[in-house]
């Protein structure tokens, strides 16, 4: 019952999905102990960041039906907020907090403006405009190099407590050294869980339902008494704020930020793909999709290496399977996932359970 409320009455509605979610939750919760190594932990942390980022985008895309390419802009703002403030004010919690608050404020204003603009033009136009705005913002971030470190980005330090150099116990626990990096991971983990549950609650609130109505038929939603401007703008702002928080998580984990890291169009496309693979309009889809995609992306090259060695007898196949051509396979993954998961993994699992 408690769980049901925690999940805002949105039960997985498929035994397989429930199992999958539990497994993912446990895997992420104990990642440092189950998957040792620096790389594995980085992947797990990236998963956490992406779960939040993708879920926040789903609020906009899946629930409100707004296609925006400017989502990474807010992600970037969050990351730059932490990065700039920590590199200017030094490694203390005040700086982190200030960066967070300032970037949330900037995102609020910008997303508000964009949200209002979204009503003036048609949907595809809006999508293309956000694409242009996002690329302009990326250019701007590169140009303001005194502030943002330009294309090289900013490397900075964070408070001791969550830095790798901090060790709160000499003794490794279950073979894992208890240091600041571990603490930082759990900070991210808690943040991700709280933010995702919050998003889940929002989409299942009366507000969330109105968003769906607007997505389905904006004209009629207005006619039955919902002020579309207000809802759309609120949704745009909320999703931007969550994306900003995801950006802050990223910066805290990496202790680095630059335009390619948080603003690139590639990330935007990854986010879109994850929403679609996972299942649009289901926050769970964001979680499942993010895990699958980030893990696949991170280990694709390793996988290909194995593949191309196996195929070394056939030179042309080996050339195609070469780890250097991992993007080729990523592209294939894009195409296949649109082919085979038209309603996303969550949609598919739920449809199967409903039968």
């Amino acid at each position: 019952m408690f769980l049901k409320r925690l999940l805002s009455n949105d039960m997985p509605r498929s035994r397989l999905l429930a199992l999958l979610l539990v497994v993912l939750f446990i895997a992420l919760a104990f990642a440092p102990f189950i998957f040792p190594g620096v790389k594995a932990l980085s992947v797990a942390a990236k998963v956490l960041v992406f779960v939040v980022l993708v879920a926040s985008f789903d609020l906009l895309l899946g629930y409100t039906g707004i296609v925006s390419f400017a989502h990474t802009m807010f992600f970037g703002i969050g990351a730059y907020g932490i990065a700039i403030s920590a590199s200017r004010l030094g490694p203390n919690w005040g700086a982190v907090l200030l960066g967070l608050v300032a970037s949330l404020a900037i995102s609020l204003v910008l997303s508000f403006a964009i949200g209002l603009f979204s009503l003036r033009v048609r949907a595809i136009f809006f999508a293309m405009i956000t694409l242009a705005v996002a690329s302009a913002f990326q250019t701007l971030a590169s140009q303001l190099s005194d502030f943002t470190g330009g294309e090289d980005g900013l490397t900075f330090k964070l408070p001791e407590l969550i830095s790798p150099s901090f060790e709160f116990s000499e003794e490794p626990f279950l073979g894992v050294s208890l240091d600041g990096r571990l603490l930082c991971y759990y900070l991210l983990f808690v943040a991700a869980v709280v933010l995702v549950l919050a998003l889940l609650r929002i989409v299942h609130s009366p507000f969330g339902r109105v968003l769906q109505a607007i997505r389905e038929n904006e004209f009629r939603a207005e006619a039955i008494g919902y002020r579309v401007v207000v809802y759309r703008t609120t949704a745009a702002v909320l999703s931007a704020l969550f994306a900003t928080l995801a950006g802050a998580m990223l910066a805290i984990w990496l202790r680095y930020n630059g335009p390619d890291t948080s603003l690139s169009f590639e990330i935007m496309i990854d986010v879109l793909l994850i929403v679609v693979i996972g299942g649009m309009g289901t926050i769970y889809g964001a979680a499942v999709g993010a895990v699958l995609f980030v893990v696949a992306q991170s280990y694709l090259q390793d996988l290909l290496r194995v593949g191309s060695e196996a195929a070394s007898g056939l030179p042309w196949l080996a050339a195609l399977l070469s780890p250097d051509r991992w993007l080729l396979w990523l592209g294939v993954l894009f195409v296949l996932s649109v082919y085979y998961f038209p309603t996303g993994i969550v949609g598919k699992l739920r449809a199967r359970a409903a039968r």
Binding site: N9, I202, P206, A213, N217, F219, A223, G225, Y231, L238
Partner: protein, 254 residues
């Protein structure tokens, strides 16, 4: 009392509604008839705010509605159903109605601006929606998605959404068009029941003259955007303009 004063709209050179002044009192059902393209739907659009008038005003119980958004007019007490079906296609029938119930009611869900409560917990909404679906004989399909409904059932749902708004003014735009003769009575009964209430203002655009004759307290006739006749049903139907331009029988009779 719903009033329009000199209501006019032009599309380029075409005057679709031309200086229509009319008042509609609670407790009456006014039928609006006129040839295709006379401006009936456009007149509705001007009243409910889907179109902005080029000139003239709309007011309800003394409150000026001109300039308000459609949603604000809905909150002021106007409600309408559409001529061409206009629903939330991928939501279920029940969700469609529940959204409409929520839209105008005050309560914990505060018209949908509540971000933090759980929608399915609002039992009151569901109960009311269920009741409306029973009224329009759609209860058995409440979990079907709208897109899979046959045309006739979509028309019924269209009416159900209007009912759910519980407005002061009901505007029906050909509510039974495309509905089977056996099904139409369900809707007509609902309209009759509204009439009995005596406090509701009802506007009905309808081409089926038998329906109009039976239900209307008053008929107004639009022709080329202009109000050309207004009065008792029998009297209006008998008038030459209706006979000729609308029913197309005057000439033959002559």
């Amino acid at each position: 009392m719903l009033e329009t004063l000199d209501l006019t709209i032009r599309f380029g050179g075409h005057v679709a509604v031309n200086g229509v002044s009319c008042a509609f009192a609670p407790g009456t059902l006014t039928a609006i008839v006129g040839p295709n393209g006379a401006g009936k739907t456009t007149y509705f659009n001007l009243i409910s705010g889907q179109l902005k008038a080029s000139a003239g005003t709309v007011s309800l119980d003394g409150q000026l509605l001109s300039g308000l958004s459609p949603s604000a007019r809905t909150h002021a007490g106007l409600g309408r159903a559409f001529q061409l079906t206009n629903l939330f296609p991928n939501l279920t029938v029940l969700e469609n109605v529940r959204l409409a119930v929520q839209a105008t009611r005050e309560g914990a869900h505060r018209r949908g601006l509540n971000l933090w409560s759980i929608w399915s917990d609002h039992k009151g909404l569901t109960e009311r929606a269920d009741q409306i679906l029973s009224d329009v004989a759609l209860k058995s399909r409440e979990h079907a998605t709208v897109a899979s409904l046959p045309h006739g059932d979509q028309r019924k749902l269209e009416v159900a959404l209007l009912m759910a708004l519980e407005p002061k003014v009901f505007m029906f735009d050909e509510p039974t068009a495309g509905m089977n003769a056996a099904e139409a009575p369900v809707i007509l009964d609902l309209i009759r029941k509204l009439k009995q209430d005596k406090t509701k203002t009802i506007l009905l655009v309808e081409h089926k003259m038998d329906v109009v004759r039976e239900l209307a307290d008053r008929i107004i006739v639009l022709h080329n955007g202009t109000l050309v006749a207004d009065g008792e049903p029998a009297e209006v139907i008998a008038s030459p303009v209706v006979q000729e331009a609308y029913l197309g029988i005057a000439k033959e009779a002559a």
